[in-house]
Subunit: 468 residues, 2 copies
């Protein structure tokens, strides 16, 4: 049995005494209603796992700490839940336990405009944060597509369209309030831009998928809203030409803010969904940030590079409305593609390679996908060397899922051979545990596991994730 298709489920029923204790502590904020448990027992991954035994709607760090303490007392797993938009099964209760819904912890606690930072509760979403920032002259750039919570983005080390210029959650979390496996509340990092004070627990928790601690408050770097923004779309005869244009742009040191690839399948899907009338060829959707002069300079340089790589239909989106329309379409690519095959699910890949290897990685992938005959689409944060293939499978046809996973495995192994990673931004979850071992080797995996055991000796924090 293929573990990446069928995760091992080790659920034990939760202790009635624990459920009683949670009901007593949390009252109506605790529920065992099946509908709500089911809603907290799935994400955007293709796995089917029975739901958690109960859900606590936390409203404060103290709530999280108390829930963890009670669960620790009963050796019962706890899984933090944000927006439910994770892609690799991070939320699924494979070992049973209690889901802690942090969605009601949705206050922006402080905006330190002078320091270009903000502290938010983990349940704040990225769109909400940017909405609250709109009069501050600042913005938070990390954009994974979904309107994920900052807590969830912290847990998966998310990135997305702006990472080529502004980095990922790794670079943009300054400090955390987090709950440890025994319910103690800790604060890591400071509000200073840099520090050499001991181990970097902030970055250890970022990307740990809720297995080392549960982040409840996050201090983030912000950036000045650029004086000028210009977006452009440019079509290419094939994916390879679009990728070559990207590589040349990055290697020229142009500080492009976004550089997104959509293949012809994606373009067709968003045309159908959003009535965009884009030329149904591979395209790059780009954005430039800076002073008016520097945006003009960047855009002219990239336009020249694009023309040299067969780019055509170069079109500017100068007004915020036009730009929003294009970016909304880009963000709809995933759901638009799902709608091209009613009832399908997507097996979504997430490799990231050094930019010089991107053409090799993506061109072979296109050839394999075309030969395999499964419907698919490709979108990519290509400025980072990261792209996603979505194989659109019929979930009632196990052979399709097997085929998609085989194609994914080929793609991952090629990425690893090229010096890359099996996951640029979605995390390991249930889906990539075998690939993690291939990527890092047993000694690194043992080291990670030693840290896990040191910080969570009972193994109650999101068990069954990351480690094969």
């Amino acid at each position: 049995m293929n573990a990446s298709l069928h995760p091992q489920i080790l659920q034990r029923p939760a202790s009635p005494a624990l459920l009683d204790a949670l009901a007593q502590r949390f009252g109506e904020h605790f529920t065992t209603s099946l509908a709500i448990r089911q809603q907290h027992g799935r994400d955007e991954s293709p796995f089917d796992v029975p739901p958690p035994a109960g859900v606590v709607f936390c409203t404060s760090t103290d709530d999280v700490a108390d829930a963890v303490k009670l669960c620790a007392e009963y050796d019962t797993p706890v899984i933090a839940f944000g927006a439910g938009s994770s892609l690799e099964g991070q939320l699924l209760a494979v070992h049973g336990g209690i889901s802690l819904d942090l969605g009601r912890m949705n206050r922006v606690l402080a905006i330190a405009a002078e320091d270009m930072s903000a502290t938010v509760q983990a349940g704040v979403t990225r769109l909400q944060l940017n909405d609250e920032l709109r009069h501050s002259g600042l913005f938070f750039p990390i954009d994974p597509g979904a309107d994920a919570t900052i807590g969830g983005m912290t847990a998966t080390r998310a990135s997305g369209t702006n990472a080529v210029r502004y980095g990922t959650m790794r670079e943009n979390v300054l400090a955390l309030t987090a709950v440890l496996a025994d319910g103690r509340i800790v604060r890591t990092g400071t509000h200073a831009r840099k520090s050499s004070a001991g181990y970097d627990l902030t970055r250890l928790i970022v990307g740990s998928e809720g297995t080392l601690a549960i982040a409840t408050e996050v201090t983030l770097k912000l950036y000045p809203q650029p004086e000028a923004v210009a977006a452009a779309v440019c079509s290419f005869p094939d994916v390879a030409s679009a990728v070559d244009c990207t590589i040349a742009t990055v290697q020229a040191g142009i500080p492009i803010a976004r550089c997104e690839l959509m293949d012809a399948h994606s373009v067709r899907a968003v045309n159908a969904h959003d009535h965009l009338g884009l030329s149904e060829q591979p395209l790059l959707l780009m954005e430039f940030h800076g002073s008016p002069a520097s945006v003009r300079e960047q855009a002219e340089s990239v336009q020249a590079i694009a023309l040299g790589h067969g780019g055509s239909h170069f079109a500017w989106a100068d007004t915020p409305e036009e730009r929003n329309r294009l970016w909304k379409a880009r963000h709809h690519a995933y759901f638009s593609a799902l709608q091209t095959r009613p009832g399908c699910r997507s097996v979504t890949t997430d490799t990231c390679v050094p930019i010089s290897k991107l053409a090799e990685s993506i061109n072979l992938t296109v050839a394999e996908a075309d030969a395999a005959g499964l419907p698919y689409f490709i979108v990519g944060h290509v400025g980072d060397g990261n792209f996603h293939v979505g194989y659109l499978i019929d979930p009632t046809q196990p052979a399709e899922r097997e085929l998609a996973e085989r194609l994914n495995a080929q793609l991952v192994r090629r990425a690893l051979a090229l010096g890359g990673t099996c996951t640029g931004e979605h995390g390991i979850g249930l889906h990539k545990q075998g690939f993690l071992r291939e990527e890092v080797g047993d000694d690194v995996l043992d080291t990670m596991r030693a840290i896990k055991e040191a910080l969570d000796p009972k193994g109650i924090l999101n068990p069954g994730k990351i480690f094969p």
Copy 2:
């Protein structure tokens, strides 16, 4: 007894059997010569500690692994040594043991120009790396002043003058080869720009001061050499005005590449040492990187801001020679200041605060230092909120050292109260262990210690450092 003045020394003699085994394995690359041990038993800190029991000159990762394995067998401490430029006693053999000199591991292993990265052995120094990069069109920006090794800079999470634009070692190490406490060799991270594959061991090892693993090879991000560079120097009537100018520049979102403060004492010292003829007032030394148009735009904006804050004697250094002369002077500030009081040593502070708190932090510090009557100088990476006071003490006068440490403690406590850190870039070493506890609290310290014990159960990797 004040622990920050007098570290606890727990040296035991090394086992003769271990010394024999090291001599057998390493031949003439192992020595117990007193002169060489003494040279490896001191750094730029003011502590006097007896030297290590022996020194292995490692030439490969395998050498490091074998030395660690032998020392592990005899429960004997190992301390990695690079250039000896650490400031907080990181190198000192307070628990005895063997120094592993990685200075001969000085090969640049690969320059991946297309991916803007390089992989180097840990003993490569930053100047050597930039020298080898000079025809590549790329450069490595992290500049802690001293010509430190990349391994040492990794261990202390170093930063320096360019960090305001390019980040610190935290942001610029992509991957590591490291030797664990039992001698196993691991590779962390990949050559891709981003990854969500499991725990971020790379950033856990960066800044761990050789207490979790010994980095032997480091893959670094590189940056395109800017098309245009301009440096400028501007004098101010007082430190407060220079700091206010810096804050306004950073808050305006100007991507200044370097923004360094020197107080009047520092300027006097470098004038005497390097015959610069700078106006003996506080000054900012700034650098701008970008296209010619963007450099002009940045420089004009900053010049206007500086004039608005009482700036005068604004002077450009346009040629590489003039720029080098200024930066050399900046880098000589520490040694120039030491020469103003023959026989003195410097007690050097390293706080970093959110930029909005920098004025409060530094102005009170100046007032306290002036009132205390000890000779001192201030230099600062003020764009990051980080500055250093060097109190020039007579090492034969314990009262001077006590006074300097008292002033440091006041400064640190103020920085912590302002949301900052006790160390922006020098690390904890022996000197700041008490401050680390004040900064992070017992629960975070316990968490760090749990990681230390999980990865180094025998406690042989640079014991006596970081933890109080």
